[in-house]
Symmetry: C2
Subunit: 308 residues, 2 copies
């Protein structure tokens, strides 16, 4: 039986915030849900979708008297939100977030939060390429991991409550140090997004190959990259600006390896290519066995008549 | 009403060959299908799957008296197959292939084929990450493009027959010069595979991040890359060895762009990042509109209870 929150405030109501709202409703995680977005239009959409019980464009208003505040905004905006909600928080309130970077979020938010509030940073490793309140769904976090990076001396009960909250949404919760989180996510998420954005960008300004050719023959492999390169631009700009060191470090590894591979191609070293291409199969099997990927061919994309 | 082939010989019966076999059967494209693989075990599997009417380990035997021979082997093996089948071909026979590289295949095969045979190289831009005769299915080519690269002076009727064959399998057929094909596929298929193999390889030998962490948090983006990095190692080794110039050229563009992006991150140029990340969304929309990709979030992967 999960702990039920009396008042849940969702600051930011995009893909992640709206999925939390739907999940919290579906699994009875809160008596009352207050939904906030700084844009009136987004608030109106959230209201139309019945994502909450109360709606506001003011983060401070949303946070006032809330037991749990979850900030789901691009990581570059976390500091400003913390400054806004800090003075409004009631004693004993728990504040969490969903940012893909943790050291920077902690540095931005913590100074603005009162001693009497409990800060438990979180990162649900889940998402789709779509953005906004209409893109969310209650099952987004089911079977996915949610990483908590509580600062030293964090209130154990607050950590437990945030953990139980995410477990009820279907997530597996892991506790991690923020700097290690940022390194792990740099290679499992940030660099993959960067190289996906990059190759889609490369394709966009080729002269020898037309856009029409790219569209037609994308099934050869390219289309797999375009999904994550369609992710929210503001969110991802902020990720790269706020996890610079870890991203540059992991990117350095990637390009070093790519240079070696380029050399193997140039000198016709088929054995080196074959050896790498064989080794990489095992990693996918591991991800499928960890329940983090479908075993269906082609991601289970429709084929044949259904795909028309 | 498609032209029905009297005898169709399938030399090589992996993912592609077996999908052709199934499609040819389903849509009545041949009176008789002869299936060949150099491995007796694979021939036995094909027979168990009832992929053909006759089975052999000899490419020459398969090609003898065939009206249409389709060679579906790794591109590095095309020359040896052509040498083997050349003397066995009957006058007027059409020979085609499915290789992902075209200039090299033409150079390897054409010298061994008799003047009396018609050579119409083809490349169906379709596949999955699975290999072997059991992985094939009749709808693999439906809605996908198949590129023909007939040499100058190719027999127009033979080209028309191969075109009709692929159209009956559900493909959109395009005619292209072989060198242009190799350049287009270098960026839409070969370089994407290379960077997918590369990042999966980078992850495999990190010390700071454990394999278990990679598996757990792969949903952050990494898992999208592992699909194409699980593709057949022999096929892909041969692609890179046989399309070296175009791959190196396109890889050069990719790394040049990546260096600029790295610089933007290092110097905190958020506008440059945002501009690129916004531009790349349009490409995915184009691919979806061209019918080459699903619009379902996350490739339509199962979420929630179904995904367990």
């Amino acid at each position: 039986m999960p702990h039920r929150v009396r008042r849940l405030a969702l600051v930011g109501i995009g893909l992640i915030g709206s999925s939390i709202a739907r999940g919290a409703r579906a699994w009875g995680l809160a008596d009352e849900i207050v939904v906030q977005s700084r844009r009136a239009e987004t608030v109106a959409t959230a209201e139309r979708l019945k994502l909450g019980d109360r709606y506001t464009t003011s983060a401070a208003e949303a946070a006032a008297d809330a037991d749990l505040v979850i900030v789901s905004v691009p990581v570059g905006a976390c500091g400003a939100i913390a400054r806004e909600i800090g003075p409004a928080l009631k004693p004993g309130a728990t504040v969490s977030d969903v940012g893909s970077v943790k050291l920077s979020v902690i540095r931005q938010m913590q100074p603005h939060l009162p001693e009497s509030a409990h800060f438990v940073p979180a990162h649900p490793v889940a998402g789709t390429e779509y953005s906004g309140p209409e893109a969310g769904f209650a099952e987004l976090f089911a079977g996915r991991y949610c990483i908590l990076t509580p600062p030293e001396g964090a209130n154990a009960e607050a950590v437990e409550r945030v953990k139980a909250f995410w477990e009820t949404l279907g997530s597996n919760v892991e506790i991690m140090a923020p700097d290690h989180h940022d390194l792990v996510l740099a290679i499992t998420s940030h660099v993959p997004h960067l190289i996906a954005y990059n190759i889609v960008g490369t394709v966009a300004h080729l002269e020898e190959v037309t856009q029409s050719e790219v569209m037609k023959f994308a099934a050869g492999g390219f289309r797999d990259f375009t999904r994550i390169a369609a992710s929210d631009p503001t969110m991802w700009r902020d990720v790269f600006l706020n996890n610079r060191e870890a991203v540059l470090e992991m990117l350095g590894r990637f390009t070093e390896d790519l240079t070696a591979l380029q050399r193997a191609i140039r000198f016709g070293d088929g054995d080196a290519l074959f050896e790498l291409f064989t080794r990489t199969r095992a990693i996918r099997r591991g991800i499928i066995e960890a329940g983090q990927e479908t075993a269906a061919p082609d991601f289970g994309r429709p084929h044949g008549s259904e795909s028309a």
